[in-house]
Subunit: 260 residues, 4 copies
């Protein structure tokens, strides 16, 4: 069943008081990193014109940063907006916002450990969201964070047949979070996936490698019975790789900056 853990979804107000100038403005370096994250995700084929990345506000944990509605490849610092956890943008000044910002807000509300979120329709994960006979799980040490049993969010369990599959409100966001539980990745049937991480470079890393994992898993399944990472190997490799993410982030960043 699809029930959310909170009762009353606040009505979405599209303009809230601007807080940019006050002492709780986000660190400009965090904003710059979010711009870089958007560009890396496009360059690494995790997002195309669709999909988005967010990061929790560094001074106000009840807020998060997310671009206005636009192609990730084109995002600049001026396009980064602040949102409260209900998904209300602060100082959008009439600029359209992503329909699915509730994915981010509800995850930040329910999961204090999460600092960054990537939502994508990256290609290799789609088959694992629409087929039940094989679960998406970690196949190599680069993607230990995938674990052994990736949940699938089925929106039909919430709203029945006929939806547009989008996470258009807090209720659907909360239902997605319920599927996610304490995991890092949740597949969304006929739609894509959402991945969480304790920091922005790790969220980008996970967005990239969950797709690679899915591709390799699909191929391995075609070859024969697969010897997957165990649960404890998943934990150990995830911990080991977490210390190495900077190596990938730095290179990907140089690449989108034209320095590689």
């Amino acid at each position: 069943m699809c029930t959310s853990s909170h009762g009353d979804a606040a009505p979405v107000s599209t303009v809230v008081a601007d807080t940019k100038a006050d002492a709780t403005a986000p660190d400009p370096r965090l904003v710059a990193d979010l711009v870089t994250a958007n560009r890396i995700l496009f360059d690494q084929h995790v997002v195309d014109a669709f999909g988005h990345a967010s990061v929790r506000h560094d001074k106000r944990p009840d807020r998060f940063l997310l671009a206005r509605s636009m192609a990730p490849a084109l995002v600049t610092a001026a396009d980064i907006l602040e949102f409260d956890l209900d998904g209300n943008p602060l100082a959008a000044h009439g600029r359209p916002v992503y329909l699915e910002r509730f994915i981010h807000g509800e995850i930040y509300r329910a999961r204090p450990d999460v600092v960054a979120v990537v939502h994508s329709h990256s290609h290799a994960v789609i088959p694992f969201g629409v087929v039940r006979s094989h679960k998406l799980r970690a196949i190599f040490h680069m993607s230990g964070f995938v674990g052994v049993d990736t949940p699938i969010f089925e929106i039909r369990d919430c709203v029945g047949d006929g939806s547009d599959l989008l996470i258009r409100n807090r209720e659907l966001g909360a239902a997605l979070v319920k599927s996610l539980g304490q995991k890092s990745v949740v597949l969304m049937r006929g739609h894509g996936m959402t991945v969480t991480a304790p920091n922005l470079p790790d969220a980008v890393y996970r967005g990239v490698y969950v797709d690679i994992n899915a591709r390799l898993q699909l191929e391995a399944i075609g070859l024969g019975a697969v010897n997957y990472l165990t649960e404890s190997e998943g934990r150990a490799t995830a911990a080991a790789q977490a210390s190495q993410v900077g190596r990938a982030w730095d290179m990907w960043k140089m690449k989108v900056e034209g320095k590689l």
Copy 2:
């Protein structure tokens, strides 16, 4: 059976009076968009040296715009010709025209709702045109327009064995339209596909995502039983995405213009 809905195909005249200078010349912005569409379709691997895109004339619904016979990647505004619905070019001035222009003319004749058409041999759709055991259908929300049951045009039903598979005349164009019916996509066995849309950016979007859908569907079928979008989910997602197409078009346009 392959019968066309019209009786008498007019003989093709290759030169008709030039109407470029009169008050019914197409909007130059529409011509520019058609040039952009050609370049995007190449850049996104929907067409290679072959395949074509057209748009209905904005002032004369009984005419359409299509490049002269050439590689889409090289099309400029000067290469865009006007055609009547019988497939006769106006003011071609001896320049060769696409053999298969009848695909476009017959669709515009039979489907007043259609404003743009893309014909391609994009790779992932080919297997679905030559295999009957799995129908091409929408697997994720980005391609809800594909629906649940894509028709396949079998030219052998019209002309028997031994044809070159091309839509070389009005009769074959009309037969293709009959297979298409009121759908957005028709597969052509051993040849490619044709997709229709209510505007040019949407036709390009559909040309891109029908191929992605086919690729993902092929992979998912290899994995297990597929939970496809239902008919009403297809309609709802298609409506939702129609409002977002500009985001993709704008980015793709920047890319072919070297700004990304």
Copy 3:
């Protein structure tokens, strides 16, 4: 059995009298086209550092043009050598030549209709050379030249186990030609393929599309029973496409010249 149609293979002499200056020097435009062909084949992923393309001499049908032993992507006009049909280079001036030049010489000897030859290890054709349960055959109109039954050359039938699989001499070249027969394409088990054509642009076109055909066929076979082109459809589509090859050649040429 692997027997060649000629009896005595002339010993390979690596230096023969230079004939460049005489009246039978090849047309410089043909040499330039062969350079372009080499670069296109690399750019289109038909060859990597290995594989080669040749063209029959335009004034002396008993000779052919082929680069010295080098990566196709780097070939310039100065690297094009003249060979006699026995595979002897004229005026190589000590420069190394391809070990497998006998593929070309023996085809030109046996097939007066052939004007250009491409030999590659392009990826998608390899599986069809090592698996007997599915024959490589035309799946769409772009590759009608593939026909319905592509022969496989098995070098073990000639020299038994333990060879390096290369066509190192006239006898092996002649045996390959025997497998090829009057077809356009011959697969070479565990090695690659060789394709013939009546002119150089068509040989390049066929090198590109035989690989695409193989890729699409592999995918279609995974999907279900395939409705292939019939023999007469193969002939009709090959004839139709032959008239359109220039469209691809011109675009590919612009691409390798950095104009696209």
Copy 4:
């Protein structure tokens, strides 16, 4: 069982006396080649931000050269460090080193014939490391060095469940070498592969083609029963290709230097 052939692993000292200035400094051309190898491996998609290549010291066979811990694409001559066979860096000056340098040290210790080593997580080899029903073996003449029976290193046999799969010490390095035996390639379950060669260009060549071989083998297995290279064909093709590696190396080098 996973037992190593040596008894006492020396404790890792992170700083050893600098020997750069003495008469046994490596040939600068060898260092330059190792930089080139790193860049080629990235450009050819064998490594991403992870994976590494080494070469045995040309004057001291008890030492090897390997970059400090960083993305291979960014390596310059200043990043190349010298290591002893125990995996101790000389003159690292506090710079972090690869966790898995023991792969290299233990191979150079046990295999005097080996001059260069590449360790990668290249995508196509992963399925063959996690599936036992099909062994990775040579499918075409470009990869005869793969042979007929590639060993798989299973780290669980050494340390049980719960490791991070990395070769973090001499014992694990020695165990990997035991799996490798006298072969060129060893797969590492859920991790990647390591390939050895008698020189650096050949190690790069093998890193590239072992991945291509895996890709083609996966596809061929999906098509039907595969006619692989025999053991003697593998040896003969490997010997033949060894003489041609320069052609690939020179082209790949020009490509990473922006000259192609």
